[in-house]
Structures are given as C-alpha cells and as structure tokens.
Subunit: 319 residues, 2 copies
Amino acid sequence: MAVYTEVTAEELYVLLERYEIGGLRAFKGIAEGVENSNFFLGTDRGQFILTLYEKRVSPKDLPFFLGLMEHLAQNGVNCPTPVHDSEGRVLQTLAERPAAIITFLPGYALRKPQPAHCHALGAMLAALHQSGLTFSLKRENALSVAGWTKLFAKIDGMADKLSPGMTANIAQQLDKLSREWPADLPSGVIHADLFPDNVFFLGDKVSGVIDFYFACNDVLAYDLAVCLNAWCFEQDHSFNVTKARALFHGYNSVRKLEREEVLALPLLARGSALRFLLTRLYDWFNTPDTAFVKRKDPMEYWRKLTFHQDVHSPGAYGL
Amino acid sequence: MAVYTEVTAEELYVLLERYEIGGLRAFKGIAEGVENSNFFLGTDRGQFILTLYEKRVSPKDLPFFLGLMEHLAQNGVNCPTPVHDSEGRVLQTLAERPAAIITFLPGYALRKPQPAHCHALGAMLAALHQSGLTFSLKRENALSVAGWTKLFAKIDGMADKLSPGMTANIAQQLDKLSREWPADLPSGVIHADLFPDNVFFLGDKVSGVIDFYFACNDVLAYDLAVCLNAWCFEQDHSFNVTKARALFHGYNSVRKLEREEVLALPLLARGSALRFLLTRLYDWFNTPDTAFVKRKDPMEYWRKLTFHQDVHSPGAYGL
C-alpha cells in the first residue's frame, strides 16, 4: 500500500520505448496493492498501472501470476491484463526490480461493502474459479497448513504479549486443523487474498479484481472462507449473516457448492482466520518501527478465529 | 506523500452530487503532496484530484491557497484549478476534513532534473511571480526569520545529536540572518516549496506546478533561493553551477532580476537552507517512530547551509 521504489523519468522513457502504448503523459505513485510499488501511468493511448515487484514476491512466481491474469481476463474475469511489449514480453526490469505494465481497471474499492456487493463478489469468485480450471501453470499455496506451522514457529510465543493465552490457543487450533484439513474437496486456482481492497466496483457491479500475488492452487471453498472473514464482519467485529448469505448465494448462482464444501466451511473459516492472524502477528513483531507501512491489527483476526471456534455447522453462516 | 484518511464510496457519491463532473469511474489514493491526503478521481467527464486537508494546513488559509491557484491558472500559470460545485463553492467537507476537487495536470515529476529543466523552471517561476502581483489576498510567511527562531527554540539543542556543534552554528547563522535579512527587495506571492516533487514536466517543458500550501507573500528572490537549493545540488551533495546558471537565465528571460536581488542571493540561499534544515530537524525529532511517513534527512540541508556559508558573492552561483 505504498511506493517503495522511486522511478526516474529517464528509466520510464527507456521502458516505454519497448512498448507501443504511446508517449508518457502522467506518472504518479499510488497507494494500492500488497507490498509492491504501483504507479498510475498515463500515455497518449490510455491509462495503465506500472508495478515493481518488491522483495516479498518471488521472481520465479511471476510467470504464474502474470499468466494467470492474462488467462482470466481472456476468459471473462475483469482483472488487469499484462501489456506485451513489441517483442511479446510482459516481464521487464526497472530500478533493479522485476516490473510489468498492466491495464488500468475502472472502478473503486469499497470501505463498507453492502450485501449486494457481497452477492456480486460471490458470483465473480465462482466465475474466477471456473475460468481458472483451464489455466495450465500450477503454484502451491505457501500459506496453507504447513506454511502456518512454520510461521507459528517463527513467532515463538510472542503472541502472548498481545493477548495472554493466545499462543496455546493457536497451537491447539493448528494441531486440530492439521489433522482435519480437507484434502479431497474440489480444487483449482484461488485468489487467496480477496479483501475489499482488491475488488473494484462500479455501482453494485464488480468492475475488477486486482492483486493476484497470493494466487495458487488450493481448495476452492477456502477462497470463499477468506471472503467470509474479509467481507462479512462489521467494524464493531460483529458477524453479518445477511452479507454471508449474499456471498454464498452469489457464488452458488454461478457454481453450485457441493455438500462437502458447505460442510467444510466452519473448518475452512477457522483456517483462513488463522492464516491472516499468523501473518499479521509475524508482521507485527517483525516490522521495524521505522517502516513506511501501517501494520495491520492481528487482534481483528484473533476475534474472527475465536468466533469460528464456536461455529459447529454452516447454518451459523446463513447456509 | 501518503494517504492519511480513508474515504468511502458513499461519501464520494454524496460529494459528487454537488458537482457537474459526471459519475464516479475510478478512485485511488496517490503518493503526492505534502501532508495532505490526495486521491486520483476519474469521472465520466475526466480526471481530477481530490485533496483532503490534514492537520498541518490551517483551514483559515484555504481561501488564500485555492484562490491563488485559480488566479494563477487564469493568468497562464499551469497549476491545478479548484473545481466549483453547482453552487459555486470550491471548499467542501469530507471525512470530517476540509476538501477540494482540483483539476488533474498532465506531466510527471522528475527525480533527476537536467539544466534544460532548471531553465524551464526559472521561466515558470518568474511568470508565477508576475501573475501573482495582481492577486488580492495576502498571507504572511510563517516560515521566515521569526518562524525559524521559534522553531529553533523548540528543537532546543537536539541538533547536536546529529552533528556536534550544529546547534551553535545554527544560532550564529540565525542571529546573522535576523540582522541582515533584506526588507526592501521586490515582494509578492511566492510558492515557497518548489521542490522537484512539485513541478511536472512533459519533455523539457513545465506542464504543471502543484502543492501551493506553503505559498505566501515574501521576497520574490527567496523563491529562487529555494529552487537553487532544491534543484542545483547533485545526489553526491556537489553544487552544479550549470544548473544554477540555467535556473537564473530562465528566470531572467521572463522577469529580469534587479541588481539588489542578485546581490542578496547568497544570504537568501543561506536562509532557505536554514529554513528546510530547521523544519527537517523538527520533524526528525518529533515524528514518532511508528509514523506512516518517511522523515527527510536534515543533514542534506546542513551540508547546503555549510556550502552557502562559504559563498561571498553571487558569482559562485554562476551569475
């Protein structure tokens, strides 16, 4: 959500010479995306986004991410498409970082999505899952159960500084999730980070999905569990069952959830809450005080995890 | 250089109803401007900037700043113009802050301006000074000698933590500048913060000047001294006399500097270096470590101040 790397006009001129998108007209850093530097790029021929991939994105994953965006866009999902240079390449180097020019999507992220938006989100997510089935590249989810266990080991008891007893509770949850995590649910490409920041709307319609830099192959219903946590709780931490119901109805209107997927949702929701709790805890204790970024509150996801621990059937989610 | 305040789509819809600039199409936080929150705003009818004024800008100064931008734009200076709502107002309230929609300027800020850019900058600055002469509102420069003295008192010896002896040197400079500061040079509206971040170019031509939130009435040549410090030193801290000469030639090509203004430049350059040294020192010691903003290095301006202390005639600047 910031600009980490400065780009000079000279560097841009050289980059734009490779493309057939016209001369430079405007260039501004924008507060968008997770941990990459993003710029609004205006040329004679239109508007684009320039992304510089910072250290948390592994260069070896970029063909997967960029290829996926192109595949999904070609299959009707409104997501940014990498622009090809005159030699057909999408991946460049700028300011010593991997970089890509992608298309600019209309719309804007919502701070307070309503049930109608959750319905549209669900329908878009199902379409994304269906379109992803024909994408040929694969990427493992580095932030699934095995990844959580590694991350938890790195935090090493520090969670109790935020809330006494949190470490023991996480250990218990992690143990339970490791044993029960579903292996045989329908799988495919998932977005894995579908927070309201990453979905643009025009009115009630989804106009775009961005930030595919956690996308991977995993259980499809896990993506819904991420959305349940990110879209269906209010700022006062209360769960909004109307939004959850709208999310699931939207999803089902495009791809009908199987009975096993529905039954697994309480477990998947706990897993998703734990995933974001752990990464936020890690960042909380490992982001230097002088850093340029706002740390996200781990306690929000601690509360969500606690909420799902009391859920024993998908009925609690309005299903 | 950040987004401090979140704006919801709902708040934007309500705001845009007051205007005749079409429906919302895009909205993104941008990394631009000093200590305000700025957003890229796309509508059916074009591109705009939405600015929310954060606590460092006094609401009572906003009619001066917004009126000045409108006056200058009407008089041929490429600067953002406040957009009037259907009742003729430019100042709004959004997210509990004063806010304004201003026009979007083409162009981009340069990280490494060349002599040709310094020439264009000088010519633009002279045109800005001339156009400003017919602007009727006045605003005192809160960051001139009296302001520096107050700021220095607040820093209270802490500068020695950065470089032993700095406090005594600043005290001596401040004393000398207070006694010698020119009172009778040509005065008018100055920008007072004309760093490369605040000037947009298309090729070698200035396409826009932004961020008028330090603008005030003061000695015109002081603005040139600010530019001398901000544009004519290299990243290795060396002074580039070619750039300085280009800056002055550009200025003289539109408004000829008087002999007294030229002679005062070494003093004005010391004053300008001291002004930015003091505000950077203040921010260095008063910005919490957890803050969202990058602190600017005071030592850069300490070196510039030291440089100008050895300058005894404007010849050193290529004049």
